[in-house]
Each structure stands twice: as C-alpha cells, then as structure tokens.
Symmetry: D2
Subunit: 375 residues, 4 copies
C-alpha cells in the first residue's frame, strides 16, 4: 500500500487548475510509493475557492495561507501563485517543515531567491521549482540522447519562447506588466523556461548580453480603460550567452510574435549530432546524427511515445500523444518520489535561483549595454 502525502494548494487560477489536475492524475498513471491526498486549497475569493475545491476534490479550504502552514495534516505546500507571493510563503512553509512544490519563476529578485534556498536547505525539506518543460516527452528524450553521448560536445543553443498576446494595444495593463507584481516581462516569464532548459541540457552560463524593448509604452488601465498607464516591463528580451562548456547560445522571449501562441523552441548543435524541439508539438524531437550513413543523414522526426521513452509507458500505446498538462503530472511524480525516498528532487530552488541569476545579469546588461558576467 502506498503512503498518503497530504497536499495544500495555494492558488486556484490557471496554475491552480494545472496543479490540481496533476495531483489528481498522478496516482492513476504512475506507481509510486506514496499517493497525494488533496487536503486543502487556499485562496482569498471564498466563493470561487469553494467551487474550485468541489470541482477538483480538495477536502477543505483555507483563506489564510498562514493557517495552512499551521496545520498538522499538511505534508506538502504547493505554491501556484504569481511570483511576487512566492518567497514569503515558501520560506515560511520550509520553516514549518513542509515540503514545497513552487511555480516558476522562483521569485522576484535574487535576494528573495537566495532566502528561499537558504530556508529550504536549512530546514531539510524537499523543494522543487516547477520548470515543467524539462518533463515534456521530447525534452526528456533530448536529455537522454545527450547523456548517451549522441550529440557530442555541444557548441550551440538557439532558443526562443514566443507568444502574441500583447500585440493588441488595447490589451490592458494587467499584473504581468507592472514591476511590483511581475518584476520583469518575458525575460522573467518566458526566458526563465528558456534558460532553465539550456541549463538542463547544455550546462551553466558564465556571461550574457541582453537587449530589451517595450514596443507599446502605455496601455489602458484594467480598472478604468478610459485611462492609461505606463507599461513597466519589457515586451521582448533577446539575450546572447557564453556557456561554461564553451558553447554559445541565444535566447529570445517575446509577447509580440503574431502567429505564435505558445511556441517554445530550441536547437542544439554538437560535435556529433543535433536536436530541435517545439513546445507546440511537444511530443516530437528532431534528431540529427553524424553516425548515420553519409547518404542517409538528416533530421529524424522522433515521436516520444514509445514504451522505451521515460514516462511514456505510463500513458498510452505508441503514437498516442499527450498534452500540455501531462508535464505537470511528470513533475509531481518526480517530486513525490523524492519526498518518499528522502532524496533530492530536480529542478530544486537552487536550480530556480540559478535561472534568476542569469536573467538578472541579462537585465543589467540590457541597462548598461555591456556584456555581464553571471556571478
């Protein structure tokens, strides 16, 4: 019999749904030594929260996250909140001895992030930052092929994360466009994914140069569309990087790429092969191998749904694709396994902090017009 682990979820919007789904589904598809119990959902809008808890099967609700941390019947705190709320909650949760599963980006600032790492490591809890695209089927396969040495020594990373929801000048000045709630724009929101995958697949970054741009400087206020206010974050962020291994990389993140709704792509070129991937077709990986016969070399279109592919055998027969939210199921499967076995989970807060250090160096570079070392 698997052991129950009691979850408290903070947040009940987009990420709250995706996380609830993951906690609900994981035991149906994965055989783990533990199983999550949806103990309590926490939020401030009681009516919406009750409807949410009923829909997803959360046993109870709370409206004060501090109350949640005081409860003895909670083992894990899941922070599915905007980034400006991460640090305080995560630190308190760690101090209360709760394991923490936290949405990305890890935090607003490096100071916050470091405090989170310190608190988590001091308390000995299992901590996890949900850079979920590491767990997309084709990214898992990319990592495997790299680990098998099939790409060789990596020379190039070329990544982009492109959305288009800000092209309309009438789109309002929401929380993602204000420093107080978002800290930065796509550099934080989208390049955090982009950089995390680069760190995961290529390795550490030592220097960056960055260029940011706000195309539309003012937007209508949410509370009064007749008035407008200043957009406080960048609309697009481009970055070039030196990797510790000698590779070079480029990163683009934008909310102004019409035709791209949620396109996250990378290309990796090494001394023996190459890879490329697109989130909008996340079950597929393109793989080039210099080991193929010379008359028959080309990018192979791999569908990562074979039983031999990690996580894939837990789902459906070969050729049956999975969707976006399944990456969260993989993430909680890894996290729960770590909690069960006492082992570390990756990516953890330290990984999340490293992403922030690189992004922050990028913002410094954009402001100064100089290449910046990542401390």
């Amino acid at each position: 019999m698997s052991r129950p682990l009691r979850i408290a979820l903070l947040g009940h919007r987009f990420m709250g749904r995706a996380h609830s789904n993951a906690w609900s589904q994981v035991s149906r598809f994965f055989d783990l030594p533990v199983h999550p119990v949806l103990q309590v959902a926490c939020g401030r809008d009681v009516q919406a929260l009750q409807e949410f808890a009923h829909r997803w099967g959360w046993a109870g609700i709370e409206t004060d996250w501090r109350r949640v941390l005081e409860r003895d019947d909670v083992d894990i705190v899941d922070i599915a909140l905007p980034q400006h709320l991460h640090a305080e909650v995560a630190i308190a949760a760690a101090q209360a001895g709760k394991h923490v599963f936290c949405e990305k980006p890890l935090a607003m600032t490096l100071g916050e992030g470091r405090a989170m790492v310190d608190a988590a490591e001091a308390s000995g809890i299992v901590h996890y930052v949900n850079h979920n695209y590491r767990l997309a089927p084709a990214v898992v396969l990319a990592r495997q092929l790299i680990d098998e040495g099939r790409i060789g020594e990596i020379r190039h990373w070329r990544g982009a994360y492109q959305q288009s929801w800000l092209v309309d000048p009438a789109f309002p000045l929401n929380w993602k466009l204000r420093q107080a709630t978002a800290y930065a724009g796509p550099q934080w929101d989208l390049n955090s994914h982009n950089v995390d995958l680069a760190l995961h697949l290529v390795g550490d970054i030592t220097h960056v140069s960055c260029l940011t741009r706000t195309f539309i400087p003012e937007r209508p206020l949410e509370e009064d569309p007749a008035r407008s206010g200043p957009v406080e974050v960048e609309d697009a962020a481009l970055m070039m990087a030196d990797f510790a291994c000698g590779a070079v990389g480029s990163f683009e993140a934008t909310r102004f790429a019409l035709g791209r709704r949620n396109r996250h792509t990378f290309e990796i070129y090494g001394s023996k092969g190459a890879l490329s991937w697109d989130l909008e077709d996340m079950n597929r990986l393109q793989f080039f191998s210099e080991d193929d016969p010379p008359q028959a070399r080309g990018f192979r279109n791999l569908l990562a749904t074979e039983r031999i592919h990690r996580y894939a055998k837990n789902w459906w027969p070969p050729g049956h694709i999975i969707g976006y939210e399944h990456t969260f199921v993989h993430a909680v499967a890894d996290f729960l396994t770590a909690v069960a076995t006492g082992g570390p989970a990756r990516p953890d807060f330290r990984d999340g902090l490293r992403v922030l250090e690189i992004l922050e160096a990028g913002l410094r570079s954009a402001a100064s017009g100089r290449k910046c070392a990542v401390p």
Copy 2:
C-alpha cells in the same frame, strides 16, 4: 447543483483506462447539468479489477455483467470490451433501460449491429458509439469549416490509418488476428475510424471496391510460441468509394506501415477549399482557402487551441495542446449532455451500424473482385 449519473464500466484494459479517465476528468473541465459517478467496474480477473477500481476510484466491482444490469444504482453502461462482446451486452443493457456508451467498432456483424440499433431504439435509451476522433480538436474545427461553407462542394476524400505493430513475424497470433474475436483486421479496427470520419465530414457512401491482403499468413500461438497458426484476418485493407454527394474517396488501413505508430490522416478537397489532418498531430488542421488573395494562397497550419474553438476553452490557454485521451473526455461530455437533456447523441448506434455496412460491403468486394453497392 448538477445531477449525478451512475456509471458501470465493463472492461479494464486499454479502453477501460481511457474511459475511466474520461469519466473522472469530464466534470473538472466541463460544466454539465449532470456529473458522472464511478459506480462499478466489471471484469473477470478479480485481482486486477480490484487494483483497477482502486486506482480509478470506482466505488465497487462486479465480475458478472448480468449482475451489473440488474442493479438499480446504475444509469449508464459503458462497454469498453472487444467487439465480439458488444452486441449481447448492449442489447441486454438497453432492455434493462440503461443508457449505453459503447466502444467502436459497434459490433462483429451487420446482424449484431442491427439488433443493437433495434434494441436501443425500442428502449428509448441514449446510445453512443465511441468514434472518438470526431472529437479531436482539429476534426471538430474541420467540421466547423465545412459547415461554414469554406470548402464548398466536396470532391475528394483521401484517408489512411496506418500502424506498424505486425511487421515483426514473431508477433503472436492474438485475439485481433482471429475471426472469432475480431471478425476482421484493420478493415474493422482502423477503417472503422476512417469511414466514420468520412461519413461525418463528407456524407454517405453508396459503392465501394476493396482489396485486402494478409502479408504473413502464419504466426506463433500466444499459448505456445513454438507452434504457429493461421492469421485469419487481413493485414491491410484498401478501399475506393463513391459518395452520395458525388465525391470519390480512398481509404487505407494497415498494420504494416513502419514508421507510422498511429497515423490517421485525411485530405478533403472541395470546390472552394481543402483540409488535411494527422492524428499524430491532432491539435492541428491544414486549411486551404481559394478565397485568399491569389498571391497568398496556401495551406494554413491551424492550431485548434483558441477559445473560439469548440471544447478548447475548457482546457488551457491558446497554444497549449491536448492529448489523445482528451477526445474521450469530449465524447463523454457530449454523451452526458444528451442523457441529461433527453436529446440524441451522435455518433449513435445507427451511425456505428452504417460504418459496418460500408466495411462489410468492402469485404464482399475484396472477396469478389467487384465493386459493391452499400445496401
């Protein structure tokens, strides 16, 4: 408050999982006037069934499907069994006044299928055959664009359903390769999907010519791999068809297409536009419109994840794809809505029977070498 509808599931293998998932997930993503209760799961292997019921949250188990039909606390019978078991169960369920959700292909023979239609219509229940690919996001969009008149008068259907699991001669003679349990090969298993989509998107078929082939006539017995027995069904089935509307069509189904794990594709050409689709990339539709400016005509790659797309707004933001099993969630959402409102659900048993009539005419054609009218 939505009304509960109590489900009994028969079968707990691949389809049992996919159906359980659909009943579990539908109320989380769709706002329906009813909600399913996972009342009882039925099977013959008690130990496996118990594990299954526990994993998926089925309240109870039964080992005799006749017992299930006698229970007052069951509103809906879900038949997730191989096709040779459909007719007897479905007819009895209809006679017991249970609504029936049945896997495809509807039945083994036309006689069975007609009896199922008769029983279902006589009893007044809601009946549904799970041709789930009608509900794939891009197929839903295809139907919408056709209904909007954007394709015009249809002239061509070109469909294929290609798998590769029989290429290895060592693959054993399982139930899908015997007439007693499968009736036919990919003509039944795969062309049933292919023909159903053609009926759904183009309309009725009047004549067919068909060619079948068994590439590997003998295979090892499952029970004793040292011995072999005859493969009793075709390995591949090709078919050409006349549609009532004047279009012509082709259909291919095979288990011998290396590199294709579960590729179901169609192309549709009309007087004003064209469409194409591939199940392995089921969130995307290719759409050509003769209405585009002459210098800018080409197939558009549509990602059917916008809020304006039917079902899509129930899932994730634009650009976040869904997977194979979500088609089942759409199917049960439609079916439950029909049960709740007393209205018919489509595709129903009559739709499922029509598919069989066409496939059976194909088998007659293959045997006779003549074009056959579909009665």
Copy 3:
C-alpha cells in the same frame, strides 16, 4: 574531346522549352563522352518557331517533321509533342535510324505503344521515354536505399498526383479534355508518372481496380466560350493494385485538388524501413529505418544534395537545391550516355508501354466495376 550528337526537337511549347534547356545545360554540368548539338527545331507556327529557335540556340528550323527525318545531319529525334502525335513520328524516326527521346505518356493506345516498341527494337536505335521524375534527386536516392536493402521487402505503395487547374467550371474544353487528342485524363497524364515510379521502385503490377469520375461534365469551348461541349475524359482516377512481389498499392490522380498545384507524392513501406516523397519538395526524401536505435526511430528528412548522391555532385555544394527542369538534364545525360556507349537507356519504350498497359487495365476496370488482370 567529346563527340557531337545532333538533335532535332519536335515541339516548342512547355515541353519544348524544358527539353531545349536540358540539351543546352547538360554539357555544362555533366562530363559526357558526347555533347548535344541543337541542330534543328521543328514546328508549324513559323514565326513562333523562329523566335523559339533563336532564343534557345537551335541552328535551324523545319516545319515538316518528315523533312527532319530525312536529314543526314540529325542523330537524335526529341519528341516534345502531345501524346496523339507520338506514335507516327517515333515509328518513322526509328525507321529512319534516328535515336528517339520521347515525352510521356508514351502513346494514346496500347496498339500505338506496341508499334513504337516494335519499330524501335527492330531498328536497333536507343529509345527513351521521359518519365523524368525517376531522376528527381530524392527519387534517385529512394532507389538507391531500396537497392541497398534498407527498406526490405516492400508491402505498400501509396501514391498520389494532385493538381487543381480544373476546379474552375469556366476553364475551357482544351485538348487535354478530349479523347481524340488526350485519350484519357489524369489517368494518362498524371497516373502515368505515378505508375512509372511504382514500377521503378517496387516492381511489376499484376491486377488493378479503378474508379474514375468526371465532376464537371460540360465546359466552355475554347473557340467559342458562349457555347459548351462535353468533357470526354475523367477528372479524377483512383486505382488499387496488386504488385507481383506481394505488395499492394494505391494511386490517385486528380485535377481537382485545391491547394495542390503539382503535388506528386508517394509512401513506400517495407519490412525494414519506409520512404516518402513529395515532388513540390523534390530534393528531400523521408526515410525511416528499423535499424535505428529503438529510442531514436523516426522519419529522417534527407536533403539529396550531398556529393555522395548521384547527379548531385554535378550541380552545387551541399544544401543548394535544384529545380524542376534539372530532372530533364539528368534524363538527357542518361540518354546521351546510352547513345554514346551503345547501351540501352531506361526507361525505354518498353517501360513506357508497360505503364500504358497498367493504365489501360485501370480504364477497363473503371468501366466494368471489376478488378482486372494486367496482361
């Protein structure tokens, strides 16, 4: 020093241009033991012919093809005329001892085709039918991979040739839509390519079933658009086939596929691998190999522009694609080499006749509704 071979070209429309280009270009890119001399161009419209001859560098003109055959200073007759003019000219040319390079389809009828074969073989000339897509870079590579055994025993051919120029009902009743000048529609025009590639890549065909359809039965007359006349040939032709090797195949040809301007595709599935190709992207071949590691199997996108690829080294560096008309250059390079060495060229008239025998069996099947053996 290479030996001159003097060419006479019959025809100066679309094919006349493509052939003139091939004769002009071949010595610039290929090192052959012979080189073509553009001796004389023949046609009936003197003014257009003169302009054409001047543009392409033909040394002289003739307006009567019989005069051409009488000339001693002509070694090769190139028949770039519509199919109803092939037989008489080719037979006379063979009898006059001229080598013959003839456009496809070989002829109007089997009788004509057989007479052409007989005349050519009796005279001992080199004869060639220009099924030029055998020479597209990726088709050449397909043949190589098959010959290397990388696909294994072939089970499936799935071919289509799709155009869209007849969708508009106002398109006039031109020579391609009349039996007297075209004999048949896309069965002759397009399926001749489709069947030729199948014969070349898979092998001989023993039986066919066919379905033809004329969607628009009347069209405006070219000479008087206010009046209309009957379309005498099919608008679309679908065909299923048994290959001698045990494979099954399907063929589609249509002039009603909106969005497809000149799309010729095939898929080939064997016991060890698979191939697919599209003329609109004719430098690329998709190749699947079961020999790849299980975690890394998928269709490879091969760009057939490497020096190791046949013909490719004659053009540009790797990655620099060639276009449609280059297939004609390859064809005349092969043909000239055969003339120079006295060896046979392939595809020859016998190959062209075999294509017609299969297409004709298809027309008989379409008329009778029965599967027909190919004699």
Copy 4:
C-alpha cells in the same frame, strides 16, 4: 532586336560557374531590352580556364584582369572572386567605365568598401552587389507582402545562417579561415546575407551587440596536413540589433551546425502578420495574417510559383519549383535591365557597404563586450 552587352567574367570556381550559368540562361527565360554576350573569362590557371571557357561558351580568355579592363569590347565586368580581390578590381573597372556586377560580401574592410562606392558613383556606372537571396522566389514574395502592408509595423527579425562544414577538426586551414584572404568568418560570409535580407525587408540598423567564438583554434595546413596553424577568424557569430524603425533583431551565423548544410532562415513579426522562410526550401514562404477569421488563423504555406509572383511566370507552370542558381538569373536580369535603362540597380555598392558597416560594428562589439552604434 535586343542590344548585346559584352560580359567579362573574373573567376571560374563555384561562383564563376553560377555566374556563367546566369549569363547563359537569362535571355532564354527573360525578355530584356539587352542580351549578354559571354565575351571573355579571366583567370590565372590557363588550362582550367580554357576548359571552363569552352564549357560555358565564353568567346575568349584572359589571364590578367588589367588586360580585360583595357578591352573596348567589354561592357560589364563580373567579379566572381574572393572578397580580398574585389576592391582593386572593382575600382579599376569603374574607372575604366565598365559596369560592375560584384559578388558579396562587397569587400574586406570599410575603407575598401567606401572606395568602391566612391569610384562607382564618380564614374556613373551601374554597380551591383550580388546579395542574391533577395531574389529567391519566396523572399521576393515576402517583400511584396510587406510592401502591401500585410505584416504591419515590424517588431522582430530573427535570422540565422547555419552551415556545418567546419565540424570536422581535420578540415584544413583554407583561405576562408585566414584574415588576409577572408577578413572574418561567418560574420562576413554568412551574416552578410542575413543582414542584407534584414535591411531589405525591415530597414536600417542603428546598434548591434555581437558575440563571436572560435571553437577549434588550430587546423591542419592545406599545404602540409602534418602541421597545423591558427584559425584566424571566428567559427560562429551571434548578433543582436536595434532597427531604426523600432524593431529588434537577432542574427546567427555558424559553420558548426550539424544537420544544416546551407540553412538560411528568417522570421519576421509585425503588428498585423508574420513571415518565415528557409533557404533550403526557398520556393516557400510561411505567412500569418491577423486579418484571417479568428477560427482559421495560422501560418500559410505559400509556394511562390504562381504566375502572379514576380519572376515565377518566366519559369515553369505553378507548382514546379526552381533551384539555387535561379536566384543568380534573377539578379543578372535586374542588373541588365538597369544597364539597359540607365537606371540604378539594387542592391548596389552602397547597399553592400551598409552591410559591411553593420558587420564591422558587430566585430567591434564582440571585441569590446559593448553594444556599438553603427556609424
């Protein structure tokens, strides 16, 4: 009757062949007021040059380019030489009153480039720098769609030019890897194309940041493979840019991208639409329009072979693609038209110089780690 213009070609390697082909083919496919006469080919290896001149139909040869400039029977000088030889020849040719068609990149240094511009403008000749990818069918269409306003205000350029011929450490230290003959690596060779297309399609660039890298610092000497010498140019160059119009851009150029033989791609995102292109599939353009109906928005795959597309009607019917070398035919068609009409040709030396100014600013940025203004 069209007027003859007598061409002198300098160079007879890869570019010499491509240019010879263009001069030979242009009058066959384009109706121009002038026609080129292949007057004289110039090089230093007499035997190879004679073979070359014979093959391509050059009327005579010269071994000293100064002799060529003295000849009265030469109207146009075509410089198909490595870049370190451009400036001296081009300036002398301009001073001799010859029109000049010059390969790209324009020159080694800004000083050279400015002198070329000055000489060309002072003499009043027609001057042209062969940034031939402007003339690829889909790039021509891209420009047309931008000019029609279909993309709106441009915000993003994302370009890459990726090759792979230096991955093997045994590849020798040839002239492209030495400063004296190449000045720089892919920044000069490949990013010159990349930047030229950006200038052509988006507009001028004001600032750049750049990162260069030499992955393999030493290579075997061509003259003695047992010894090695230092690679003097970068192996890869990444660049970020500010456009004058407010757009931001990124540029990558590398010789280390395994699997990419000659892949030049761009993505352009504007306020109303988007475009993307790949040289390896140069007849196709991807086009997204926000004007499409909301349920049917996606990138359209445009095949730029319709008669309505500029240059396309000069070649083959719709759907018949053209190849790499056809871009040179388009270029000489434009250039010859300019010479005939006395009008300017674009891109001219000033355009070529602007590319160099941007690339040079990039090299300065890479050396200094600072963003640099382009003077």
